[in-house]
Each structure stands twice: as C-alpha cells, then as structure tokens.
C-alpha cells in the first residue's frame, strides 16, 4: 500500500491525474517520488508536495491518502484497477473517466465526482458537490456504467447526460437531478429540490423523500407498490411519471406517494 500525506496546506489547485493504481503497480518508491505533477502552473515532483511511504516488498495496487486534499483534482482519473482510499475531504473531478476499481472517500468530495466514468465504484461517506456522473461541458457523453454511492447529500445537476450506471444518494439532492439523462438509474433516498429529469430521454429516477413539484412536461402514468434498482427491491408506494415529453423522452420518475401528499392532484388523471 502506498500512503501519501500532504507536506503543507495547498494554496493552488493540484492535478493528480497521473497517480493511479495502474501507474504505480510496477514502480519503485523512488520512481513514484519523482512523478511530475502540476501545482498550479508549476511542474513539480510528487515528493515535494507529499510525504510518501510504501509498505515494504508489497506488490499492491492500493493508494491511501490522508489529510486535507480539497485542492487536489482528478484523483483516480482513468484508473482501471485497484483501490484508492481517501481519509479526508477531496477536490473536484474525483474518478473522472474511471474504467474500473474502487475509490472510497471518508469525507466530502467536491463537484464532478465520477464524471464520464465507465465502470468501477466510487463511495463517498460525506457530501458531494454538483455534477456527479455528468458529462464534460459541451459533451453529451456522461457516465456510462459503474456506481456512485453517496452517504451524505449531493448538489445540483447530478447525472447530467448520464448514459448508464447507478447513482445512489442517501441524503438530499439539489435541483435538476438527471437533467438530459439518457439511460441509467438515480436513486435519491432523501429529498429533491425539484425540476427532476428535465429533458431526460430514458432512464429511471427514484425519489423516496419529498419533492416540491414535478415538471409540467411529465405525464403521470401509474401508482406502483415497489420498484427495483439493480435487483434490489425498494418499497413504495410510488407515483410514476413519464417524460420529458418536450423532448419525446421515455424516462421514468418514481416519486414516493407517502412523502408527497401535494401530488395527490395527479391521481385524477389516472
């Protein structure tokens, strides 16, 4: 196991995209120490910013970060194997374009968690920022597979342009969850601030908590007792909506009936 601890508090953003399990697997500790990374606009050795230690004689693809990592971006970008464990808060673009492996954050993460990821698992014990599993600005190719599990709350526009995979949020989410979504599943156990699934084409969004209102471009479809997310049963009952009709979408919203008595007005259309 490779352990990294910051030497000081960082003032400018640091791009750590190169330090992934795939890159360290056959490298000696000295080679790892001399990795070149960007600190703001300066190209420096990894060693100048982090205390690095490695358990002797182990061929292991686990990286362990401790300390304040809020300025560090792109941890685990494009990784395809192994495990990254982070004790502390972490910056944006965690697990960008990840292809496999696991990232566990025992703290909060900033925006763009798992953007454009293809496979693997990201688990965040705290809160996350906006745009989890989203596509890069301008692109329509968001998260395609894998799983993002958030135990805290999430920000706005999670699952933007999502094309597959699962986002599971235990807490609350901001507005526009699942905007432009095209396949995939978002499960929100807490509340949503609304505007759910705007311009979605396909896919499924489940909200077990409260939601202020449903967008007018969604039509109510049914009331179901339960639903399933990757084989696991979720107890309802749920109102189901289909949309976004404005974009000829066939996406589905599952909204808890018990927590949303104000949606009773839709029942007359059933």
């Amino acid at each position: 196991m490779l352990t990294l601890t910051p030497r000081q508090e960082f003032k400018v953003p640091i791009d750590l995209g190169c330090l992934i399990p795939d890159a360290i697997i056959k490298k000696s500790i000295d080679e790892i120490r001399s990795f070149r990374i960007w600190e703001g606009n300066r190209n420096v050795h990894l060693e100048t910013l982090f205390k690095i230690s490695k358990e002797a004689n182990t061929i292991d693809d686990t990286i362990h970060f401790t300390g304040d990592l809020r300025k560090i971006r792109r941890i685990g970008a494009k990784m395809s194997r192994g495990k990254i464990v982070i004790d502390g808060d972490v910056g944006s673009r965690l697990g960008e374009e990840m292809k496999g492996g696991t990232i566990i954050v025992n703290g909060d993460a900033d925006s763009w968690v798992g953007s454009m990821m293809r496979n693997g698992i990201i688990e965040v014990k705290g809160d996350i920022g906006d745009y989890a599993g989203a596509a890069y600005r301008g692109s329509t190719k968001g998260m395609k597979g894998g799983k993002i599990i958030v135990h805290g709350n999430a920000g706005n526009e999670i699952g933007c342009f999502m094309r597959g995979g699962v986002i599971n949020v235990d807490g609350n989410v901001g507005i526009y969850a699942g905007i432009h979504m095209n396949k995939g599943t978002i499960f929100i156990q807490g509340n949503s601030e609304g505007r759910l699934g705007a311009q979605m084409l396909q896919g499924k969004i489940v909200v077990s908590g409260k939601i202020p209102s449903i967008l007018p471009t969604f039509t109510v479809d049914n009331i179901v007792k339960k639903t399933k997310i990757s084989g696991e049963e979720i107890a309802g009952p749920f109102y189901t909506f289909i949309g976004d009709v404005a974009d000829n979408g066939r996406g589905k919203l599952y909204i808890s009936q018990t927590h949303n008595p104000h949606l009773k007005q839709y029942e007359k259309f059933l």
């Binding site: 596509a135 890069y136 600005r137 301008g138 692109s139």
Partner: protein, 563 residues
C-alpha cells in the same frame, strides 16, 4: 540565414523533378543557385524534400471558427498543447486555437494555408485571428456570391461595374479570391427559403445562381485575379446533387480561355451524391471524374472524410440547418446582414454508418479516378470532413491500396459493396502527392513563389524522413503516415521552424491580399455604397474597410486588370 540541404531526394513537380538527389541552397529566405562559404549544411540523405505544403481550403480563422470554438469545449478538453519556451499553449482538435493551428500545420510541413470563407463584415475579425496564427502564410477569400451589390450589378448586366466593386472589396477586406457559397442560397435563407438548382430564382433579386456564377467568373477574368472563382456548389449534401455539380461545371464551359481553369469547385465530395434519398444514396464520383477528366476549365478539391469526431461549419446556412435536423446536435445559425449566412453543427463520421462510409469512399474515388493530380487536390475542408491533422492518413490511403482495404474491412458492408474503390488499383506516387498537396494548389492559387523549389522561389520547404528507395508506400504505409505526421524539417522563409515535430522557431507569416490596378481610371462606386450603408448596415462605411497596417505582415499582390 544561409542553409544547404544536402543529398535529399527532391520532388518538385512544377520543375519536373521526380525524386532526384539534389542539394537545395537557401539564402535570405529564397532558393538560390550558388553556395556561400559560411552556409550551414544539413545532411538529409535518405529523406525526401518537397516544397512546403499549400492548403487551398481550410477554415482556420474567422467568426464562424471562433463561434465553433465557443460551441465545443468538449473538443478542446482532450487535446491540450502545453507551452514551451518558443510556443504558446493552446487547445483543440477539430477547431484548434490560433497559435496551435500554426504549429500543427508547420509540424506537418505545411507553410501556406488559405482561409476560404470570410464574410466581408467579419473581415476585421478574420484578420485579427490570422495575425495570431504564427509561421504559416495565409490569405482569405471574401464571400461575394450573395453580396447585394454583386447581385444588383449582375442582374442589370453591369459586369464592369461589378468588377470595380469586387476590386474595391478585395482591398477593403484584404481578400485573395472570390468565394461563392451556394450562390443565392444564403440570401434566400433570409426569407426561409433556399435555391435548389442553379436555375432557381433568388427572391427579391430576380437573378439565378447560374447568372451569379457566370457573372463573377467574367469579373474574375476582367480583374486578372491569380486564383479562379472558388465555388461551394448549390444543393450541397443532398442525395442526387451530383447533377447540380455537373451543371455548375458546365455553365462556365464557354468562358474558358487559354486552356486554363476558370473555376475551382471546393469540397466536391459533398456535392457528389447519387440517389433519391438517404436510403438509395450512392456515389456520383464516377460521373464527376469523367467530366473533369475531359475538361480543363475546372479544378476541384475533395474534402476527404476521416472517421472521427469533428465540427461542420460553412457559410451555407440552409445546409447547416438541414444537418442539425438530421443529427439533432447542438447548432448555430447566423445571418450576416446583407452578405451571407453561417452555420455550425458538431458531427461524428462513423465507420458503420452507410452514408458516412459512402462519403469516405466518394472522396477517395474522386482523387483516384481523376487522372491528373493537377486537377484534384487534397483537402478535408477542415474541419468539415475531418480536422487537418488527419492529412497523413489520407496520404496513406491515396498511396496504398492495402491501407484502403484495411479501412474497408471495418466499414459498413453495404457501402463497401457499392463502392468503386475495391476495383481501383491506382496508387499515388510521392510525385503525385507533391502535386495534390502543394504544387497543384500553389499553381491553382497563382502563388508564383510557392509550391516549387526553383531558383527564386520562397524557401518554404518540407523534409520528410521516408526513403522511397527503401520504403514501399503501398505496403509500409504506416511509415509514410509517421513521416508526414511530423516533418523531419520544416523550413519557412529560409529558417528552420520545426524539427522532428518540435517547433524550434516561431515567426510571423505573411498575409496575402489582392491589389487591383486598373488601366482606365476607376469608377466612383463609394457614393452608392455610402448611401446603402446608411440604410442597411449596422456599421459605418468608414469603419468597414480593413486598413493595411491592421495586418501583421501585409503582402499585397498587385494585378493588372483588363479594364
């Protein structure tokens, strides 16, 4: 700087030199005859030497290019160029930023690039961007096919007045050639319509595209402009449009003189579709190449598709709108006042798509079926069919049947079955590549100092590390791709600017524009212009022309008009 390139294998088609071992001597930015004692000598035995590449049609600057950049952050995201001591940082793949454009062309051994669509109103912007493109020489073609004054003069049969006007426009916009984009179409598009054939009428002007093309062709001859008219055909990107393209070529047949070309049709691939709809669409390349083989008055460039993600941008607003409807992608459409239109749609060419695969095939069929490479040039209509960085791959397809077959194996099967390519044995030689990518284009553009290595020519030279005596390009096409991707040396203006893909010096390139001298005293046209500007333009007349000191390195080419 004095330089001698020793023992290179020289391909200089304009001087009929085909792979001879020769020394090239450079002094003060020109190619000279005699060596000086203090010249620096570079031994390039086993490498080929060609004149610097000349690209006749690539959208590298201007408002549509810049809007394309704004539209596509995801295009820049994956392609970042880090700054060095000499070069500046940049981004971009299909629409690279200005500095990156210059560096990337230079690395491939290209030294002159023409920007083919400049709305006159955006001339200032275009030149600002051209100024920022380092190393390469450049020029821009103002869009005149829908310009109100041209339409009005030609409607009334006033060809000479039109010529005076076009000459004024060349100086005002610092342009190099007359560009027509779907003549009459963008004007009709302002009223939600389009012209579907060269004999349709343009609303409010009572003129047909045929009259516009013929009129501007006559103007071009009257003014003695170095390039011919540069035409983007009517009905672009519509199945069955090869007939329109043939009609367009035919319509200026009688205006040809001295066996010289009078018309350049650009990105012909988009205008060579047969069939009634997208299901029955097939290649019309055979018919077009047959016509071009029999006639001398027309040159073309292909716009070769490469299967990749790119951005389409033309001044043909209605065509771009159609493309948006086809793809559902994000889009931009713009009406440039009284002048033209513009549109941008990101596009991905897919191997497995029948139409895209057929388009790929059409481009190569045109290049291979037209016998003389002096008539058909290599372009991708950057970035419409592919970004210019894909040129080395296209060179490999042209030089190697094996390379084409390898690509066809992964392509849509129906497209391969209908394609003519499996039956075409022809493979370009290095000599023919030199014609299609530099000598031919320089000749068509009338750039006398470019495209050859004779005494007195500009010392714009590309050296590629591939030995034709050892490498069989048909089989070892991968080494050809490697060689053309990064020139061993690129020499611009007598100085080494790039070495093995690394920029070693960044200097400023020239901007060519046309300054017409008349025999008769020029007619007063500005009073008419001023009046119309007050009524219809958003800019003041005095702010309209681009002053010469606005260009980084202004290089006017003076031509003597016949009138």
């Amino acid at each position: 700087m004095k330089l001698v390139l020793k023992n290179g294998l020289v391909y200089d088609p304009l001087n009929q030199i085909n792979g001879e071992k020769m020394d090239i001597i450079i002094k003060d930015g020109k190619i000279v005859e005699k060596t000086d004692k203090d010249s620096k000598t570079i031994d390039i035995s086993g490498m080929i030497v060609m004149p610097g590449g000349v690209d006749i049609h690539a959208h590298i600057a201007g408002s549509e290019v810049n809007t394309g950049r704004l539209l596509r952050p995801e295009d820049h995201f994956k392609d970042v160029e880090v700054k060095s001591n000499i070069t500046r940082s940049g981004v971009g793949r299909s629409i690279p930023s200005t500095f990156t454009t210059g560096y990337r062309y230079t690395r491939m051994g290209y030294t002159t690039v023409m920007n083919p669509s400049m709305p006159p109103l955006e001339a200032r912007h275009t030149h600002e961007e051209l100024n920022d493109i380092p190393i390469i020489d450049k020029g821009a073609y103002p869009l005149l096919g829908d310009w109100w004054f041209v339409l009005e003069y030609l409607k009334n049969g006033l060809v000479e007045d039109c010529a005076f006007h076009v000459a004024w426009m060349m100086a005002a916009t610092k342009g190099y050639a007359i560009k027509l984009v779907n003549p009459g179409g963008p004007e009709s598009w302002g009223f939600g319509r389009n012209v579907r054939d060269i004999d349709d009428t343009v609303p409010n002007f009572d003129i047909t595209p045929r009259e516009i093309i013929r009129g501007l062709c006559k103007v071009n001859k009257l003014l003695n402009l170095p390039h011919t008219i540069h035409l983007h055909t009517t009905n672009l990107g519509v199945p069955g449009n090869y007939r329109t393209t043939l009609k367009t070529m035919k319509c200026v047949e009688d205006l040809a003189y001295d066996k010289k070309p009078v018309m350049h049709i650009t990105h012909v691939m988009f205008g060579a579709f047969k069939g009634k709809d997208w299901y029955t669409m097939s290649s019309g390349a055979e018919k077009i190449s047959k016509y071009v083989n029999r006639h001398r008055h027309v040159t073309i460039d292909t716009a070769q598709v490469v299967f990749t993600d790119t951005t389409t941008m033309t001044a043909d607003g209605p065509f771009q709108f159609g493309l948006y409807r086809l793809t559902g992608n994000k889009w931009v459409n713009h009406d440039v006042e009284t002048e033209t239109t513009g549109g941008i749609v990101p596009f991905r060419y897919k191997r497995k798509n029948y139409v895209h695969a057929t388009q790929w095939s059409i481009g190569l069929e045109l290049s291979l079926l037209i016998k003389s490479p002096w008539k058909v040039f290599l372009t991708t209509d950057h970035p419409n069919a592919a970004p210019f960085i894909t040129y080395p791959r296209i060179i490999a397809w042209l030089m190697s049947k094996n390379a084409r077959e390898k690509t066809m194996k992964k392509m849509n099967r129906l497209a391969v079955r209908k394609s003519l390519l499996p039956s075409i044995e022809r493979e370009y030689s290095f000599y023919e590549i030199a014609i299609a990518s530099r000598a031919g284009t320089a000749k068509a553009l009338g750039l006398k100092q470019k495209g050859h290595l004779g005494i007195g020519a500009d010392a714009d030279i590309a050296v590629y590390n591939v030995n034709p005596k050892q490498v069989d390009p048909s089989k070892e096409y991968k080494s050809v791709i490697k060689a053309f991707k990064h020139a061993a040396y690129t020499i611009k203006n007598g100085e080494i600017v790039s070495q093995k893909g690394k920029i070693v010096k960044s200097n400023i390139g020239k901007t060519y524009w046309i300054n017409v001298k008349f025999k008769s005293p020029p007619r007063e046209i500005t009073s008419d212009l001023k009046k119309k500007f007050k009524d219809y333009w958003t800019v003041e007349f005095d702010n309209y022309p681009v002053a010469e000191n606005y260009l980084a390195l202004s290089t006017p080419i003076t031509v003597e008009a016949e009138i």
